[in-house]
């Protein structure tokens, strides 16, 4: 297991002249020491590495979900297709939805929030770094567990929404729905735990002077998102446990013959499911609230309104869930109430759209790839939002529901909203993370191909939906008028695939070019506004040399620029004088640990045990038990543990024996 070299030179010299030996490794419970290579990634607790891991995994799952989408489109390119039979199709569309929502969009949001939120509030890391690493491995193993179902008797086929009683063993006899319940329970643990972490980080670890109303809009949107996760995930956790127990342990929560009401599942699921869609979109709203001001060279228009509209969306999102149940039989009074609340959630969303437009108004716009994607989000989300308002009118929704018109709506808001926002963020923050930019030329191809592709794919879905093509159907007959537009949609889907290919080429070729030509992007390549740009690129492992004291919103910008009498910015300091040097002296980093990945690995074991053989579950339980003990008993590697920490200032220097401190004061460079 752990190999910690015992320091062979003199122990740490303290100012007082006394010496203290570093903690001796307790054998199996010692801390890992690698700072490079794959093992450093497995044991890292650095929020930046966790963010990169989330992002890379999400992109891998995006390719899987994308292939599922292409299979769907190939099956539906003409009537009575034979690419997939009904049973296969039902698994593919179910997994497409689960993958895209839980394994792509949520983790992409987590990637950005993990990487940026500590930096944007001026912190060294999140509040609970080992828990953060655990969140990531838990998510990854949950996603792999879910996808292992393809090879172990069939994937879930009840739809991502898994309505009871179709999901009970009589109607879903394969193990697919057990993989669904357990897989999402595992990824749900990841989300819940990660949310607690980031909420505490924002509340407790902000730099001095950074009041809540001086946080960047991205951090605010991230904060609201994490609060939504904290309260929404437990609801689906309960629902999934009820389903798991019905299917495996003879419970009757959704057994109609025993007196249950199937609507219980729907209420629980959508109480989670509606806040979930705001969890999906708010991070991207936050991203473009950073990029649009930078590329318009103006501050975000109406900062307090942007913050409060985000809070309003988060809050009001709890009052609309039964708009997914207008046809379910909740009665006309409930339908009327939810119809009205659903309409009014358009108000704060509209405020955001208009504020982004107003930010651009009068601005000096540079259409970098990031800006293209940001503006693309504004346009595409508006389309999706307006079709959403048409669903809020519930009599109309009784015609639209479960047709492709709904599919069009949510793809415009999730693909055209969340995903375009994530691409905007990737092009923007790539130099911060990796030290070089992605190619703008390939980025432009990526953007235009994906914009055209998505509109060709999801635009006609409005039409066929209104023509009556239902969703979740493995085929359609000739004579209904669906044929032509379905073919266009399939062509559009392959254009999206081409765009994603261009993006991947961009990722790899930009990296190769940067290595070959030793490109370093330097400080602050975009002339940005927020604190994460006040450190070198790529971000040093320790984040800030010294904790910045914050006096303004857009603190970094205000250190570079003052304003003249017309309100126009005037340079007051050179960028390189403002950006910190990247000197890690005196910064204590949270130590790496094996236990997060070990604990995370126990969970799928328990899952396989519930499905196949309780022996696995026992083994998983043992590993879990061992892991929690290990996490609790592993020593701190802080060499100053022997003396109190009340004298931390910039001159605090216990560096003479720096060579021995490599294990914990390591500079973890982002190894490729």
């Amino acid at each position: 297991m752990a190999i910690i070299e015992a320091p062979d030179s003199a122990p740490l010299a303290l100012p007082s002249g006394g010496t203290v030996a570093p903690h001796q490794a307790l054998g199996v419970f010692s801390r890992p020491g690698q700072s490079k290579g794959w093992r450093s990634w497995i044991t890292s607790v650095d929020h930046k590495r966790v963010g990169v891991l989330y992002g890379a995994s999400a992109i891998l799952f995006f390719l899987i979900g994308g292939m599922e989408a292409l299979l769907i489109r190939l099956q539906l390119v003409h009537a009575n297709g034979t690419v997939l039979n009904a049973a296969q199709y039902n698994q593919v569309f179910t997994m497409h939805g689960i993958t895209m929502i839980f394994l792509v969009v949520m983790p992409l949001g987590a990637a950005f929030m993990n990487y940026l939120m500590p930096l944007q509030v001026g912190a060294r890391d999140v509040a609970f770094p080992r828990l953060n690493a655990f969140s990531f491995w838990c998510f990854l193993f949950g996603g792999l567990f879910l996808n292992s179902s393809w090879f172990l008797g069939g994937a879930p086929d009840g739809g991502w929404f898994a309505y009871a009683p179709n999901t009970n063993p009589i109607f879903s006899p394969s193990h697919g729905m057990d993989f669904y319940a357990i897989g999402l329970l595992i990824t749900g643990i990841a989300s819940t735990v990660g949310a607690i972490n980031l909420v505490v980080t924002v509340i407790n670890l902000r730099a001095p002077g950074m009041s809540l109303m001086k946080m960047p809009v991205f951090t605010w949107m991230g904060f609201v998102t994490q609060l939504l996760i904290v309260f929404a995930m437990p609801v689906i956790t309960v629902a999934l446990f009820l389903l798991l127990f019905d299917r495996n342990f003879g419970a009757n929560f959704f057994n109609v013959k025993a007196g249950a009401d199937p609507l219980l599942w729907q209420h629980l699921f959508w109480l989670f499911g509606h806040p979930e869609v705001y969890i999906l979109i708010l991070p991207s709203f936050g991203i473009i609230s950073e990029t649009i001001p930078v590329f318009s060279r103006k501050p975000i228009f109406g900062y307090p309104f942007m913050v409060f509209s985000g809070i309003a969306i988060g809050f009001m999102g709890w009052g609309v869930w039964a708009h997914h149940m207008f046809a379910s039989g909740v009665g006309p009074l409930s339908v009327a109430a939810f119809s009205v609340t659903t309409m009014f959630i358009a108000v704060p969303t509209g405020v955001k759209i208009l504020n982004w437009v107003a930010t651009m108004y009068g601005g000096k716009l540079t259409f970098t790839t990031s800006m293209k994607f940001s503006v693309g989000l504004v346009g595409m989300f508006t389309i999706g939002g307006l079709s959403g308002v048409t669903h809020a009118v519930s009599p109309s929704d009784l015609q639209q529901t479960d047709t492709y018109y709904i599919v069009a709506h949510f793809h415009y808001v999730i693909f055209g909203g969340a995903l375009l926002g994530f691409f905007a963020g990737m092009y923007f923050w790539w130099p911060k993370v990796f030290g070089y930019k992605l190619s703008e030329k390939l980025g432009s191809w990526h953007f235009w191909l994906i914009l055209i592709g998505m509109n060709l794919t999801f635009g006609p879905m409005h039409i066929v939906g209104l023509q009556g093509q239902p969703r979740r159907t493995y085929t359609y007959n000739k004579g209904y008028g669906f044929d032509f537009w379905n073919m266009i949609e399939t062509i559009g889907a392959f254009i999206i695939a081409l765009a994603v290919l261009v993006f991947l080429v961009n990722v790899f070729s930009s990296r190769a070019k940067a290595k070959r030509e030793h490109i370093t992007v330097g400080n602050d390549p975009w002339d940005a506004r927020s604190l994460e740009w006040m450190v070198p690129n790529p971000t040093p492992a320790h984040n800030f040399d010294e904790v910045p004291v914050v006096a303004h919103l857009d603190e970094f910008w205000h250190r570079k620029y003052g304003e003249d009498e017309n309100g126009r910015p005037v340079r007051v300091k050179a960028t390189d004088d403002v950006v910190q040097a990247g000197d890690p002296t005196g910064v204590h980093l949270p130590s790496p640990s094996y236990w997060p990945i070990v604990i995370a690995a126990s969970l799928p074991l328990i899952g396989y045990g519930i499905i196949f053989n309780l022996g696995f579950a026992a083994l998983g339980g043992f590993v879990l038990f061992l892991g929690i003990y290990g996490l609790g008993l592993e020593p701190s590697m802080d060499p100053d543990a022997a003396h109190p920490h009340d004298d931390h200032d910039d001159t605090h220097d216990d560096a003479p024996a720096a060579a021995d401190d490599e294990e914990s004061h390591e500079e973890v460079t982002a190894s490729e």
Partner: protein, 371 residues
């Protein structure tokens, strides 16, 4: 600027119009409930379209002017405007007011379309994997006099109250020309009001994912004039004729009794208890099979039109179905959901078809067997 808005309406209306005139489109109401919905939704779509055009124009404007400014040679930076309180209040209040304008007719329409007229004709609609059945309790005594499948036959101009139910999982009954959809939830009776305004045939299908063959769970409403409906009612309440002894049809009836009657019903022929039963407990009632236009969850036509404009029995399709039902539509017979392959011999199929062909009355214009 108003002319721009009017011009912008044209593509919106064009798009809307391309959405109508097809079999299941939601903009061609043929009944009062669907019409109430349509009157509201067309207005809402147009309003949404107008808002969309306004936002698009604003976005295009800031893009074009800002880009021009961004490419300009001068170094002049933009004024760092942080916000405008009045604008924020305006674009909070104005959308709010617009939405109130949408909310009020919405609530009115919701209440209108869910109103249950006292004189409505009540029909029970049952969803089960993967077909629709309809039961008419004409005298209100609790037992249905008429049990049919696939096609819901109703009189024109009479309010109908559908009592939508399920015998297994959640389904959703939808005939867009007549009304919105209503879920069929096991353990519940859910009400859907509709009323056809003119005679016609209106297509629909199940709209709540219900498993393997959800895509094939079709429905149809057939609206008849009152006179035709009364005639239909009479015809449906007769028992099946007993075929003459020694005919192929008589042999077919024997085959039916041994191979089919554990699931299917024919009025006057006893259902066989105790044999393999379906999870939902029901298969279609076939007593007046030949009075229908579709079979097998509405996926196949019972009659095709010949060159002389007559309706001719679609024997080939029914034979293919009887030969191998799971080969025609995906089903799960090994799990007691859907019709199994009974491995019927050619003789048995011929005899069964001969018997089924006696189960009239035939629709007007159809060529009856033997002629």
């Amino acid at each position: 600027m108003r002319w721009m808005r009017r011009v912008a309406l044209i593509p919106a209306l064009l798009a809307l119009s391309s959405c109508s005139g097809t079999k299941q489109d939601i903009f061609s109401p043929k009944g009062s409930i669907a019409k109430d919905i349509n009157d509201l939704q067309v207005k809402v779509f147009i309003a949404a379209g107008v808002v969309g055009v306004i936002v698009a124009v604003m976005l295009a404007y800031v893009i074009v002017t800002g880009r021009r400014r961004g490419k300009a040679d001068g170094d002049e930076e933009p004024r760092q405007i942080h916000g405008n309180f009045r604008a924020e209040i305006a674009w909070t209040i104005i959308p709010f007011v617009i939405l109130v304008g949408v909310a009020v007719p919405t609530v009115t329409t919701i209440l209108n379309i869910s109103h249950r007229p006292a004189n409505a004709m009540k029909i029970s609609v049952y969803g089960q994997q993967w077909w629709w059945s309809y039961e008419y309790d004409l005298n209100g005594d609790g037992t249905p006099e008429i049990v049919t499948a696939n096609e819901l036959v109703i009189p024109v101009g009479v309010p109908i109250e559908l009592q939508v139910q399920s015998r297994d999982v959640i389904h959703s009954f939808w005939i867009p020309a007549l009304a919105g959809t209503r879920d069929a939830v096991p353990g519940r009776v859910q009400i859907l009001e509709l009323e056809a305004s003119q005679p016609g045939v209106y297509d629909g299908q199940c709209k709540e994912y219900c498993g393997l063959s959800h895509a094939n769970m079709r429905a149809r409403a057939v609206a008849l004039s009152q006179a035709d409906f009364d005639k239909w009612k009479e015809g449906q309440q007769e028992n099946a004729p007993t075929p003459a002894a020694g005919t192929a049809a008589a042999a077919g009836l024997d085959t039916f009794k041994t191979k089919c009657a554990s699931c299917h019903q024919i009025n006057g022929v006893n259902k066989i208890e105790g044999q393999a039963a379906l999870v939902s407990g029901h298969a279609p009632n076939l007593t007046h099979l030949m009075s229908r236009s579709i079979f097998a969850s509405g996926n196949f036509s019972l009659f095709v039109t010949n060159t002389q404009g007559q309706l001719v029995f679609n024997r080939n399709q029914l034979e293919a179905w009887l030969r191998d039902p799971p080969g025609q539509l995906p089903m799960a017979p090994t799990e007691a959901r859907g019709m199994p392959n009974l491995h019927l011999g050619d003789n048995e199929i011929d005899q069964l078809i001969a018997y089924l062909q006696t189960l009239g009355p035939y629709p007007a214009g159809a060529v009856a067997p033997g002629s």
